[in-house]
Amino acid sequence: MTLVSILIIAISFILLFHSLFTLLTMTYSWNDPHTLHLRKSPTQFQTPVHSFSLLVPARNEAEVIADTLHAMNSLNYPAELYEVIVLCREDDAKTITAVRDVIPTLQNQLVRLQIVSKSIDNKPKALNIGLKNARNDVVAVFDAEDEPHPDILQIVNTLMIDHQYDVLQSGVQLINYTSKWFSALNVLEYYFWFKSALHFYAQFGVVPLGGNTVFIRQSLLKSVNGWSENILTEDADLGIRLSLQGANIGIVYDEAHTTHEETPTTIAEFIKQRTRWNQGFLQIFFRFEWRQLLGVRRQLFTAYLLIMPLIQALWIFYLPLTIIAMLFLELPVVWAMFSLLPAYVLLIQLVLYNYGLYTFTRGYGYSYSLLLPFHILLTYFPYQILLSIAAFRGVIHLTQGQNTWEKTTHLNSHRESHAS
């Protein structure tokens, strides 16, 4: 066998494992319906005990911040048990103005504006300032465009009492699945990630937390010195570090209570966002803190989780190499078959995405168009290419030491979509 053949087989092997793993995590939530209640929101709430500090870092969010603060101000939770801290940079006059304009209009005066200096140039730094100023025993993070469910604090309070969680990640869901050609698949990624994959990871006690609707005991958060300020995915990093502390991390995803978000507005935005995430994961990997996790299985699992972007990047080589192999290389048939197995799993994923879209629309009360399967079919492979490009770009950025924050623009389209 030639070197190219060996390369193809090696890549196929890695991708097969990866795609099977992805398949497993995608469908984990459906695996055992008899434990479904453990992953859903409680239907009856405990008496409010926990107090919450909701941190809302906002930068260039003048368009959306008012709606967000209105929503947060009227949560179904005793006003004395929660506060909202909006973190704005001093040079972001528009957002500051928008916040100042909206605060007087709010019924409960729970919202505080915390202006941070220009030197605070990324989200984790802002969050750490918020943490310093947080007064309550549980700290939560929301994004400026988020629209938390009114019962979210009731739910978190109940779950933290019932399960003694130290950390709780609630579902975040992109909603505007019809905005762009790639939106549906982007929405589905979130859907499978929060509804299913995170539950799978939680089994191992290792959860790369999301960027918002995450609730952490303040004492624990402070014990790990808050968020890492030079990691592009500070949320995922925090999850790993909390896992190292042996934190009891819970996940809840209930269509009725997820935090709604919007998909990136352009392909460029999408790729930028993904590049940042991929680079961030790799940064965490190369810090090797995961090696301190208890047990080889957990260490390997975490390492694998963190290098996923690298594996994702292999897809970009896989398709052309496989075509070359089919046309020009005389691979033994068994190996040729093997090299096609990742494509098989990819096709199964494609069908599952359709199933996911069906259940997503049912779960969120949208109508399911019969054209959607065709839409998924047409966009699936281009979308995989976007993911691969972003993964590849993340690797390049990492090797070049490029560490700037490529912030995503928010247009409030998730609210429009929801409204529609």
Binding site: T27, W30, N31, D32, P33, H34, L36, M326, V333, A336, M337, L340, Y344, I348, V351, L352, Y355
Partner: protein
């Protein structure tokens, strides 16, 4: 929940563990006892084992071109089994390894069936009844012992079904079930007819939360596994048939082509002719009246119960059975063992019906021990009922016998046949076999270490170009043996291998083995080259001792003629060892100082010391010289030629006479004394003199060619003192100095003018010259021998001796005479030559276990001239001087 009844996992139910263990021990003993001896090794068993063997030893899916007749899952599994158990011969004969695998699979399948029935009914006793019925059925036992893909498929199917039959079904179970089902289809494709039953079961057993995903995932995973079969074909360029837009024009096997072929095979009749389902059903019902009659009824009852009594989960199992019944009734080809996958289902249906009957009618009896007692009674009845079935005279035995499954030695004949091949055949022989013997004859690792690389399965003789074209060159005569079983006989009768049928038609039974209604017959082809080879080998054993050719009918004398014939046959047979032995003996005992050979050697009574008649006979000398020249070319050894040159020189010196400027061949040096030329026409071999001329250019051998034809013409045409002549060559003749032919009158022994044992050789020698050199004089002479042709055409026979006038002198026939005459017919009447060969040479060739001979093995003259005639007829007398 499958049922609204609490379910105790088996690990917590000691009654179930004990009961199931007891059933499994019974099943293992019942199936395992005598399983190597009954039933006979079926051809298909050999096919699957040989394909597993090919996978292990050659890395190929089949030893022959794989043509997608079945997906390979089954024999991949068998190959894995051989890895686990240490190869193909751990249990003796290679097929026994597969039978042990079937036993293990059956025991596991029984357990799976019991677990399935238990989950359905929540009853350990019902489960035990299902397991017992599944295993005790003679119909089942007959096929379950065999290495059949259906048995392996049943295992995967039951495992797959059990996985989705859970109260708390998880997607992991669905995934594993789909995987197992995919493998089941890749083992035996007819598993696809279970899909409706599986989907209904999955629908019923899954939670509403993931029901559709479960169905989707099951279909996708099993579909993906199944599609690997198509992917394999696609990557090999063998998916689409030749001639199809995507299949190209180059001839190749094709998966879709095979599927098309399989689906187009339709039963000829739906009534009761050959392969119709009704016929098979009658047959199955004979073998197990209970399961085959009650089973389908119970199947329908289970479906009814599912709806009437709200046992919804029964509907899934019922549909499995119904789907398979519809498959059997679809109108396509049904083979007897197609029933195998239905047997566990029928057993389960019966068990469920018994259970439901008890549930319905014994409600009043709360006492559990009474119910247990009734179940024990049912199980006891099953044992007693089936004991009667096993006791009856069973149809598969001859002579019929009882308890056949546990006493018969039906495979004995097959094992003896394999051993016989090892003992009697040569490794380079081409043998057509039933595939049961394939591995044990082909595998270099077989315990006997004897390998027959050209032992080929009869189905492939015509179908596989590697065998048909490369090994056999489409020539049936290349086959050395056909080992025919009754199954093979049936297949050949239906036209499975015309080439093998042709071989059989040109063969005779050589040896046969029979045991309990099954047999192996060895058919030995009688194509000319087989006859030549086998008669030569037999002649060597019988008539040649340490290089001395013995005439057993004449006081064990040895003649230079006999030595010369042996030398010629040896060189034509490419048998240098015998050639050298015979030559050495002739040189040591018969060769005179003049380099010619004494014509006769007589042993004394002890057989050790002989007396020599020192006169030489020219025919033997010239044949020895020709054989030596051939040997020099065939074996590229000049020492033979040097010796030949000396003999040729001596022949010219002593056995050729000049008269009137022409050179004539004398019968021996002694004939120099006569004023004319004494001729024995049967000595004249013009083909030899042409070669002698090349080797010995200093002498005028060409003249001897000319005089040979001249004297043949004169001696045959002349009345030689009689009233007339029918133009037959005489035994002796004299050419006078004036050039006319006359009867030799000097000595009584030379005066015979008959066409008899000497003279019969004339047509052969002239015909050989015609074959090699196309001398027109040869053809003219042969055409003039019309007397013999007329005799044959008018009387259908040629006597062994005639007077010169045409009167029959000795009226009996002899293969020697026909062998010596056949060349005449080949030149003049080729159709008659074929008839003579078939009726006089082939028919008069006999074989027993020791000898292969014409008419009488002691008659050395017949053995030689029938051989020379057969060789001439079959074109095996090549001019080695010219062609090597």
């Amino acid at each position: 929940m499958l049922r609204n009844i609490p379910f105790t996992p088996i690990r917590k139910d000691w009654v179930a563990v004990f009961l199931f263990a007891a059933v499994l021990i019974f099943v293992a003993i019942f199936h395992g006892h005598n399983m190597f001896h009954f039933p006979y090794y079926e051809n298909d068993e050999g096919v699957y084992m040989s394909q597993a063997w090919s996978l292990v030893t050659q890395g190929k899916l089949a030893p022959y071109t794989y043509w997608y007749d079945h997906a390979p899952g089954g024999w991949i599994f068998i190959a894995l089994w051989t890895f686990v158990t240490g190869g193909f011969y751990t249990f003796g004969f290679s097929l026994n390894t597969g039978r042990v695998f079937m036993l293990v699979l059956h025991v596991v399948s029984t357990l799976l069936l019991m677990l399935i029935t238990r989950r359905m009914t929540r009853s350990n006793w019902a489960a035990a009844i299902a397991g017992i019925l599944f295993s005790i059925s003679p119909l089942g036992l007959y096929y379950q012992r065999r290495i059949l893909l259906d048995n392996i498929m049943v295992f995967w199917g039951l495992l797959s079904y059990l996985l989705i039959l859970r109260d708390k079904l998880k997607m992991n179970h669905v995934f594993l079930s789909a995987l197992c089902f995919g493998i089941a289809v890749l083992t035996k494709e007819n598993a696809v007819f279970f899909i409706p039953g599986f989907l209904l079961t999955l629908y019923l057993s899954s939670h509403s939360y993931h029901r559709y995903l479960a169905l989707l995932k099951w279909l996708m995973i099993s579909g993906s596994v199944i599609s690997l079969y198509f992917l394999y074909a696609l990557l090999k360029g063998e998916l689409f048939p030749t001639g199809h837009l995507l299949g190209g024009t180059e001839e190749h096997v094709s998966l879709l082509g095979t599927l098309q072929y399989q689906s187009s095979r339709v039963n000829s009749s739906l009534v009761c002719e050959t392969k119709a389902i009704w016929c098979h059903y009658q047959q199955w019902k004979k073998q197990d009246p209970f399961l085959m009659f009650v089973g389908p009824l119970a199947n329908l009852a289970v479906l009814l119960i599912a709806f009437i009594r709200s046992r919804r989960i029964y509907a899934g199992l019922g549909l499995l059975g119904l789907g398979f019944i519809l498959f059997l009734m679809r109108g396509g080809v049904v083979i007897d063992f197609y029933i195998v996958p239905y047997i566990p289902l029928a057993a389960a249906f019966c068990a469920i019906c018994i259970h439901e009957g008890f549930q319905t009618f014994l409600k009043a009896f709360k006492d559990q021990s009474l119910r247990t007692g009734l179940y024990v009674l049912v199980i006891g009845s099953i044992f007693i009922g089936y004991a009667f079935l096993y006791e009856r005279e069973y149809i598969f035995a001859n002579p019929k016998s009882t308890y056949l499954f546990f006493q018969s030695q039906q495979t004995k004949a097959q094992l003896e046949a394999v051993q016989w091949i090892r003992d009697h055949m040569q490794p380079d022989d081409i043998i057509i076999i039933d595939n049961y013997a394939y591995i044990d004859l082909q595998d270099t690792d077989n315990p006997s270490t004897l390998v027959f690389p050209d032992a080929e399965w009869y189905w492939k003789v015509d179908q596989d170009p590697d065998v048909r074209e490369d090994l056999l060159a489409e020539d049936p005569s290349r086959v050395d043996l056909v080992a025919q079983t009754p199954q093979m006989q049936g297949d050949l009768f239906s036209g499975s291998s015309p080439l093998t049928s042709t071989v059989i038609n040109n063969s005779r039974i050589w040896k046969s083995f029979k045991s309990d209604g099954w047999s192996v017959e060895f058919w030995r082809p009688y194509y000319p080259h087989h006859i030549l080879e086998r008669s030569w080998n037999s002649y060597k054993d019988y008539s040649i001792a340490n290089g001395k050719v013995i005439d057993l009918q004449q006081n064990q004398i040895t003649t230079s003629e006999g030595q010369s014939y042996a030398l010629l046959r040896a060189v034509w047979m490419n048998d240098q060892e015998t050639f050298d032995e015979v030559l050495t003996w002739a040189n040591q005992r018969l060769r005179n100082e003049d380099m010619l050979y004494s014509w006769r050697y007589r042993p004394d009574e002890s057989g050790q010391i002989g007396t020599i008649d020192i006169d030489s006979a020219t025919d033997a000398d010239q044949d020895i010289a020709l054989a030596l020249l051939f040997a020099s070319r065939r074996w590229n050894d000049d020492s033979y030629r040097i010796q030949a040159e000396k003999v040729i020189d001596a022949i010219w010196e002593h056995e050729v006479k000049e008269m009137n400027g022409k050179y004539y061949l004398l019968p021996g040096p002694w004939a120099q004394q006569y004023p004319g030329v004494v001729i024995n026409p049967s000595y004249l071999a013009p083909y030899s003199y042409r070669i002698f001329q090349e080797v010995d250019p200093n002498h005028n051998w060409k003249s001897v060619v000319d005089t040979s034809y001249e004297v043949l013409e004169k001696c045959s045409a002349s009345s030689l003192g009689h009233d007339t002549s029918v133009f037959l060559p005489p035994e002796w003749c004299e050419i006078t100095p004036s050039g006319t032919a006359r009867q030799v009158s000097v000595e009584e022994g030379l005066s015979s003018t008959d066409y008899s044992y000497n003279a019969i050789r004339v047509p052969w020698r002239v015909a050989l010259d015609y074959q090699w050199n196309e001398d027109p004089r040869a053809l003219v002479y042969l055409e003039k021998l019309s007397f013999l042709i007329n005799e044959w055409q008018e009387n259908g026979r040629i006597s062994v001796a005639y007077r010169h006038t045409g009167e029959v002198w000795e009226s009996y026939e002899s293969a020697a005479a026909y062998g010596a005459t056949i060349g005449l017919f080949m030149a003049v009447q080729p159709d008659e030559a074929e008839r003579i060969y078939e009726t006089q040479l082939k028919q008069k060739f006999y074989e027993d276990e020791q000898h292969s001979f014409w008419e009488d093995p002691q008659n050395y003259y017949t053995q030689n001239w029938a051989w020379f005639g057969t060789a001439m007829y079959s074109g095996n007398l090549t001019n080695l001087w010219e062609e090597m």
